[in-house]
C-alpha cells in the first residue's frame, strides 16, 4: 500500500516561514505595545484617582477644622493654614489627665465667661493649634506638635487656602490641585484642570 502525501500537511517553504514570522512579529509587537500602553494607562488612571481621593481628604480635613475653628490665618503663599480649635477632648498631659488618667479621651464640660467682647464659651483655658503645611510630596497636619501625614503623592499636590474675613462672618476658601503623571509638556491647564474647591465658614468666630 502506498501512502499518499497530503499537500495540506506539507512543510512551509522558506519564503512562507519568513513572511509568517514577519507578520507574527508585527502582530506580537503591536500586542505587547498595546498591553504596555494599557498597563501604563491603568496605572495613570489609578494614580489619578488615588490622588483625587487625597484631594478630597485634604479638603475634608481642612473643612472639619475650619468649621470648629476660633481663629484661622493663612500664610502669604497661601500654602500653610494655622488655626485654633477648642480643646474639646482631654488629652494626655492635660491638667485633668494628670489629676485623673481615666479622663483621657473624654470630652470637657464647657464653661461660660463674659468678656469685653461679649460672652464666650470655653472648653479649656487653652486652645489646640492645628497647622496644615506642605513638606515635599506630603501634606502635613500638625496638632499641638503631633504630625500626621494626611496626603502623600508624587503628583505634586498643592492646597491653597484663603481666609476671608467679612464684617459679620469669616470663611476659608480652599483649592487643591495636582499634576497628573501624564502631561503634555507641563501645560498650565493640566494642573488647573484638577482643581477642587471648597468653602468652610468659621462657626466659632470670635470678635473684639
Amino acid at each position: 500500500m502506498k501512502l499518499k502525501a497530503s499537500p495540506s500537511i506539507a512543510g512551509f517553504t522558506l519564503s512562507e516561514m519568513l513572511v509568517s514570522l514577519s507578520l507574527s512579529s508585527i502582530v506580537l509587537a503591536a500586542a505587547i505595545t498595546c498591553g504596555i500602553s494599557l498597563q501604563k494607562s491603568l496605572a495613570a488612571t489609578d494614580n489619578y484617582f488615588s490622588t483625587e481621593m487625597q484631594q478630597i481628604r485634604i479638603i475634608d480635613y481642612l473643612n472639619r477644622d475650619v468649621k470648629r475653628g476660633l481663629v484661622v490665618t493663612t500664610s502669604v503663599d497661601l500654602q500653610s493654614v494655622t488655626m485654633s480649635v477648642p480643646k474639646y477632648i482631654i488629652q494626655a498631659g492635660d491638667p485633668e489627665a494628670i489629676a485623673d488618667p481615666e479622663t483621657i479621651g473624654m470630652p470637657r464640660t464647657p464653661t461660660v465667661a463674659y468678656t469685653p467682647s461679649g460672652w464666650q464659651v470655653n472648653y479649656s483655658p487653652s486652645t489646640t493649634t492645628v497647622v496644615y503645611s506642605i513638606s515635599g510630596n506630603s501634606i502635613l497636619r500638625t496638632e499641638n506638635g503631633v504630625v500626621t501625614t494626611i496626603a502623600s503623592s508624587t503628583d505634586q499636590l498643592v492646597p491653597q487656602s484663603t481666609d476671608v474675613e467679612l464684617s459679620n462672618t469669616e470663611y476659608a476658601n480652599t483649592s487643591v490641585t495636582f499634576l497628573p503623571i501624564f502631561t503634555s509638556g507641563g501645560a498650565v491647564a493640566e494642573r488647573t484642570g484638577t482643581s477642587m474647591y471648597a468653602t468652610a465658614y468659621l462657626r466659632n468666630k470670635r470678635r473684639g
Partner: protein, 507 residues
C-alpha cells in the same frame, strides 16, 4: 488508510481561545475590582461621611427649634408628641429618619449654666448617621505613605459595631460602653452646639421694621456703666482705656427702608439696605445683609413672683413701698420680684417706687408692675414714673405708652434699673405705639430700656437718652444724644437663643 490531523488543530485553537478569554477576564476582573474599591471609597464612603455630618447638623437644627419654643411657645417645647422625653435633667428625642438616603439623627439637650439674669444656657449634642451602601468590605488602607493610601485616616466606618458606643459609651462620657451591632455599615458623626440666650438689649436701637432718624446733629455712642459714668469725650479719644466701649452704639434694622441721619459710633446693620459711609456718618461696620426676627412678646409667667394686691390703680402721687413681711420690708429678687397688677394708669398719674430700707440703708429692691391698659392715652398725657437708686423696676404694659421723655425719672442713671416691656397685642390688626416727646425743646432725657417688638416707636425733640430700644418701626426726628450702656447686654430675660459654639466630636 487516510490519517487526518484536523481534530488536533481544532483543539489547539480552542485552547488558545480559552486562554485568551481567561487572560482578558482576569484583566477585566482586576479592573472591575479596582473600580469597585474606588467606587466604594469615592461614592459610598465619602458621601456617607459628608451626609452623616449633614444629619448631625439637622439634629442640631431640630433641637435648636425646640429650644426657641421655650420662649415663643413654651407649652409646645420639647413636646412628647414630637418624640421628646425628659430624663435625668436632659431632653432627648427618638431618632428622626429623613431623606432618600435614609439619614437618621437624634439629639440630647441639657442646661449646663445659668447666667446672672437666670437665663439657662443649653448644650445640644447630636448624632447623625448615614448608611454606607455597597459591599460590606473594607478595601481601604489606614496607613499613609508613598505606597499606601490612608483611606480610613479621616473617615471612621462602623461595619459591624458602633465603635463610639463601644469605646466611649452612648453619651461619649465613658459610661455604658457596650458592643452595639449595627444593622448595616454606617458612618456616624457627632456635633456639640452651645445655645446661648439672647438678651433683649444687645444694641442701642433694634428695629424689626423701618427706620427713620435721628436728627442731623444727633449721635449714638456707648459706654460701660460698670467701668465708670458716661463721658462724651471718650468716643473721640483712642488713648482713653474706655474708648473700646464707646463705639458700640449699634443700630440694627431688619428692613431695607432706612434713613440714617446723625452720627453712629457703632455698627449699622440693615436687611437689604443701601447704606454706605458716603451716605451717612457711621464709625463702625456697615453691613446691609443682616436679617433678624423679633418674636412677639408675651407676659412672662408670674408664678413665683411676690404678688402684692395694692395698689391696682396709678393716680397722681401714687407711691409704692415694699410690703413688710414679719416686720421686714421685702426686697424681692430678680427671679422673684414684688409684683403689682395695675388696671389703670391715669393720664396724670405719678408713680414713685421706693426701695426697701433696712437699718436706714436702702436695699436693692426688685419690683414688677403689669399695667393691663395704656400708660398715657394722648399727646397731652403726662404720666410720670420715678425710680430712686437701688430700685429695679420692670413695667409690663398691654396697651400704648405716651408721655414726655423728662417724665421718665431714673435717678440712678443706670438704664437697666428701669425696663419697659410692651406685651404684643393678640389681635394683629392692632398697632401698638410708644410715643415719647421731650416737648418744648427740652433736652432733658431719661435712662431706661424699652422692649417693644410689636410697637411703632416715636421720639421727638432732643432728649439725652441712656438706654436701648427694641421696636417695630422707629421714627425719631430730633437731635437726640443716645448713649448705649454695654452693661445692658447681660440684662433681662432671654428673648431668643443663638448658637454660640460648635464643636465636632471627632473621636
Amino acid at each position: 488508510m487516510r490519517i487526518s490531523t484536523q481534530s488536533f488543530a481544532r483543539g489547539n485553537v480552542l485552547l488558545c481561545v480559552l486562554a485568551t478569554i481567561l487572560v482578558v477576564s482576569l484583566i477585566g476582573a482586576n479592573v472591575l475590582l479596582n473600580c469597585v474599591t474606588r467606587y466604594n471609597v469615592a461614592s459610598s464612603q465619602v458621601r456617607s461621611w459628608k451626609e452623616s455630618l449633614d444629619a448631625a447638623e439637622t439634629g442640631g437644627d431640630i433641637a435648636y427649634a425646640e429650644l426657641r419654643k421655650t420662649i415663643s411657645d413654651p407649652t409646645h417645647a420639647f413636646s412628647p408628641s414630637n418624640g421628646w422625653t425628659y430624663s435625668g435633667g436632659a431632653y432627648t428625642n427618638s431618632p428622626v429618619t429623613y431623606g432618600q438616603d435614609n439619614l437618621s439623627t437624634s439629639s440630647r439637650v441639657d442646661p449646663f449654666y445659668y447666667d446672672g439674669s437666670g437665663n439657662a444656657w443649653y448644650r445640644i449634642r447630636t448624632k447623625g448617621t448615614a448608611p454606607v451602601l455597597g459591599l460590606k468590605r473594607v478595601g481601604m488602607d489606614d496607613r499613609m505613605g508613598p505606597n499606601t493610601r490612608g483611606d480610613s485616616l479621616l473617615r471612621k466606618i462602623d461595619f459591624n459595631y458602633d465603635h463610639f458606643v463601644a469605646t466611649y459609651g452612648p453619651n461619649g462620657d465613658g459610661v455604658g460602653q457596650t458592643l452595639l451591632p449595627v444593622s448595616r455599615p454606617q458612618v456616624s458623626r457627632r456635633v456639640e452646639l452651645i445655645a446661648a440666650p439672647m438678651t433683649p438689649f444687645e444694641a442701642a436701637i433694634k428695629a424689626g421694621g423701618t427706620f427713620y432718624g435721628l436728627g442731623s446733629a444727633a449721635y449714638i455712642d456707648s459706654y460701660r456703666s460698670t467701668t465708670g459714668s458716661y463721658d462724651a469725650s471718650v468716643k473721640t479719644n483712642p488713648s482713653d482705656p474706655r474708648y473700646p466701649d464707646s463705639r458700640s452704639g449699634t443700630v440694627e434694622i431688619n428692613s431695607s427702608v432706612a434713613t440714617i441721619q446723625g452720627s453712629i459710633y457703632g455698627n449699622l446693620y440693615t436687611n437689604g439696605g443701601t447704606i454706605t459711609k458716603k451716605t451717612s456718618s457711621i464709625f463702625g461696620i456697615i453691613d446691609n445683609n443682616v436679617p433678624f426676627s423679633l418674636s412677639p412678646f408675651a407676659m412672662p409667667s408670674t408664678a413665683g413672683w411676690n404678688y402684692v394686691s395694692s395698689p391696682t390703680m396709678i393716680n397722681p402721687n401714687t407711691t409704692i413701698n415694699p410690703p413688710v413681711v414679719n416686720g421686714v420690708p421685702r426686697t424681692g429678687t430678680p427671679q422673684s420680684p414684688n409684683y403689682y397688677l395695675v388696671t389703670s394708669f391715669a393720664n396724670n398719674g405719678n408713680l414713685t417706687v421706693n426701695p426697701a430700707v433696712i437699718g436706714g440703708v436702702a436695699q436693692e429692691t426688685y419690683v414688677a408692675i403689669h399695667v393691663t391698659g395704656d400708660i398715657g392715652q394722648n399727646t397731652s398725657s403726662n404720666p410720670t414714673i420715678t425710680v430712686p437708686p437701688s430700685v429695679h423696676l420692670q413695667v409690663y404694659f398691654d396697651g400704648n405708652f405716651q408721655t414726655k421723655a423728662e417724665n421718665i425719672i431714673n435717678t440712678s442713671g443706670y438704664a437697666g434699673n428701669l425696663q419697659f416691656y410692651a406685651i404684643s397685642p393678640t389681635d394683629p390688626t392692632v398697632q401698638q405705639t410708644v410715643n415719647l416727646n421731650s416737648g418744648g425743646g427740652s433736652t432733658s432725657g431719661f435712662s431706661a430700656v424699652f422692649y417693644t417688638p410689636s410697637a411703632n416707636f416715636t421720639i421727638n425733640g432732643a432728649p439725652d437718652i441712656t438706654g436701648a430700644i427694641v421696636c417695630k418701626n422707629f421714627y425719631g426726628n430730633g437731635n437726640v444724644h443716645w448713649h448705649y450702656d454695654r452693661a445692658l447686654d447681660t440684662e433681662g430675660d432671654a428673648v431668643d437663643y443663638r448658637i454660640l459654639s460648635y464643636v465636632e466630636d471627632i473621636r
